[in-house]
Symmetry: C2
Subunit: 457 residues, 2 copies
């Protein structure tokens, strides 16, 4: 291998072999085959000596029997069969995804199996993602080895955010949330026990990947800290990189060890590494999702000055409180803007920061307030806390906020708390390109992580 | 008035006059009339000298003209007309809800109007809720003066949680969320500028209200601190009382002043008052909603010891981290339980705390793990972090978890992160009586607030 981080075969294969294919739709291999057939455009070869045909596709007794090498082989076999299967693959596959569990995370016998897997990979020259992982979901190429059914775990459309995750369930849950909320992704990798490909390899690939504009990382453990920091620093010099490290507490550390066989280590060491690598630190699941939505749609704020525009006084106060608690600032509205806005608005609107348009708010009043407060150099971003009670607000609001010219560089974050009606409107904001959240806390977290990428666009 | 806090007329009126009724459905009075007709069982009298009929109901020129006193009069008039209207009502109404804005929150002229309103109330003996409020939503009696349309702001069914809120938009957004998630309420009061009835009056009423099992308070300001602490302490001696105070920061305080004309004051004073009154302090909107769901369905935990059962290793680690960060404990699984569970479960389940049932989880394995870990005195509550990727899980899970006998006293909190499929399952958990949340953070916040009511049941 010339470039250790050339993972192209994993993300853009033109052919895939599924080793362990079976006609049983409920089995892991059946779910993978169905997902591949749903979205992957290249050639798909089921491999299993026990069948001649699987789901209408010709089934081959071995990868060698396909007749030409494949770019990617996916192994859905019992752990004990995997090392031999890799050896038998020989030079007939460039990359391997091993989704099977039962390796280092499963005790002494599994540790030996994982060593055998590593040896097989090394001797054949096959790069391996996994074992104990979901593998790859790639919205650019349609590759999908995630063995979770699509009716339970939705797949996002094409976007510019890439995710790398040690935990498969975390990755699956995250893409399900993003898909439901209408946020797209580029590449998603669940790499599990990382017997070969690890987070540093993925970062090297994603740094140079033109489809990827931001990277979110979930880690439980990092073994080669120096290499990770180097790769992450290279990547974060080009595009935002953010990370959550779980297994912070003793209980969490011990659970993480059982989970992927990894030693989680002290959280302080990780924080220092993140800082050194220019990684934006995220605190947990909620932060991770918020940051994915924020950087999935925008690219960072130039500073910490937040303008708040609302139609619900109480909600505006709440957002202001959260901003201050999070270390952002809520500078008062400058005199000239107070004059201009007071002249245009009825006297019962509160022309301050927060700016309260009250229950008489209209789409136009929101858009006007936004265009005025975002012009000049008063604020770095705006949180629009829109409650839908005011009857004059319409579904045109998100589009009107997004189309105001002249502040493309300043993120506009929507905060739209409430029940069914508000929740359905989240997608409208996302379709307009504005990250939108159901709570003041989440909107302010978004503002906060965006402000950590200041000056780096 | 014998008992200053006898607010019965506000919540259980047998007759209501709507002063300022108009045939225009989009106007505030039109929305109120429609909502009253939808759910209120008593007599409804539109009052407006300009109409003979409104929405098919006979319209009266004045309250006096109705012919007999009403229990409650709702005023949807311009602020400048309200004081005189109250005076004209004379002794013909026991209580008044003034939804109109334009009083103390709107500058010097409004301050004078609010004083005139107070004088009118005092001279006529009418108790007043408002002005600048939404008034009352009462799921017990069907009374609904919230002038927000029901297609935008859903109304919860009947439950046992009552909410009192200085902010109308906050109250409306909260009930919309609760309704959407299937959590019921008893009484909800938006009291706005509190020219007469304030939070202490409401607490006095709710303390003795048999329909109310828990009380959640949103305040921006409290003027009579001593009376508030006395009333809250009386109430919290009987049932859980929790409160969020917004306007903590300077920006927030200034916004709160514009919002309801109130001086918000230092947050430390409020915290001390909350502590003295036995009130559970909530940090903001997200906390408020979580606490409403938690105490809307359960009644507190005896301690801080959390057991975590999951089918997604990474999510279990996340929940453990959040528990520790929140000051809860995640005690290891005792030896005897490890033995018992290891004997019953396959070897690749991780029998610790968190207990990881992996992607092979079934409804039965969750229920079995729950019944074993909740027996004995090992844990005070359990967080079930259920991801829906594992194909064997069914919609029977919430019911099976709820029906396990013997741990009624120990809250079971569901954490079920994800997209559409998970979000739809939130209601199943709530129907089974288990508070359920979309993030580890929210589930742990719920555990945390429930642990603050230990020993008080």
């Amino acid at each position: 291998m010339q470039k250790r981080h050339d993972l192209t075969a994993f993300f853009s294969p033109s052919s895939i072999a599924l080793v362990g294919a079976s006609p049983s739709a409920g089995k892991i291999s059946g779910i993978i085959l169905e997902n591949l057939r749903n979205s992957f455009k290249g050639a798909i070869y089921p491999v299993n000596p026990h069948y001649n045909e699987v789901m209408g596709l010709r089934c081959h007794p071995s990868i060698e029997a396909i007749g030409s090498p494949v770019d990617l082989a996916v192994y859905a076999l019992g752990a004990e069969s995997v090392p031999e299967a890799i050896l038998n693959t020989g030079g007939n596959a460039a990359g391997a995804v091993v989704v099977s569990g039962g390796f280092a995370e499963a005790g002494p016998k599994g540790v030996l199996l994982e060593k055998a897997l590593k040896d097989a990979a090394r001797s054949t020259g096959i790069r391996v993602i996994g074992p104990n992982c979901l593998g790859i979901y790639d919205a650019v190429t349609g590759l999908d080895t995630f063995f979770v059914p699509r009716d339970r775990v939705r797949r996002p459309g094409r976007g510019t955010l890439s995710i790398i995750s040690q935990s498969g369930s975390f990755a699956a849950t995250a893409i399900d949330e993003l898909a439901t909320d209408g946020i797209g992704v580029a590449r998603v990798v669940s790499y599990g026990n990382k017997s070969d490909v690890d987070e540093a390899d993925c970062l090297d690939f994603l740094a140079e990947d033109p489809e990827t504009k931001a990277v979110a990382i979930y880690v439980e453990s990092i073994e080669d800290g120096r290499r990770f920091v180097e790769s992450a620093a290279r990547c974060s010099a080009i595009k935002p990189v953010m990370a959550v490290k779980v297994g912070k507490s003793a209980s969490g550390i011990s659970a993480a060890r059982s989970h992927t066989g990894a030693i989680a280590g002290s959280y302080e060491i990780y924080r220092a590494a993140f800082r050194k690598a220019g990684i934006i630190e995220l605190n947990g699941y909620e932060d991770f999702l918020v940051a994915c939505k924020a950087f999935g749609l925008t690219s960072g704020a130039a500073g910490k000055r937040v303008m708040i525009i609302t139609d619900g006084g109480g909600m505006g106060v709440n957002v202001a409180d959260e901003c201050i608690a999070a270390g952002l600032t809520v500078p008062p509205l400058p005199e000239e803007l107070i004059e201009e806005l007071s002249a245009a608005f009825p006297p019962y609107f509160t022309t301050g920061n927060p700016l309260d348009l009250t229950g008489s708010a209209t789409d136009e009043s929101f858009a006007f307030a936004l265009s005025k407060t975002m012009s000049g150099d008063y604020y770095d971003m705006v949180i629009v806390a829109a409650l839908w009670g005011p009857p004059a607000l319409t579904d045109n609001l998100p589009g009107m906020l997004a189309q105001k010219p002249g502040f493309n560089e300043k993120p506009i974050i929507a905060c739209t708390p409430g029940g069914a009606y508000s929740r359905e409107r989240i997608r409208l904001f996302h379709e307009a390109g504005l990250p939108a959240f159901l709570t003041p806390e989440a909107a302010v977290t978004a503002a906060c992580v965006l402000s950590k990428r200041q000056g780096r666009r």
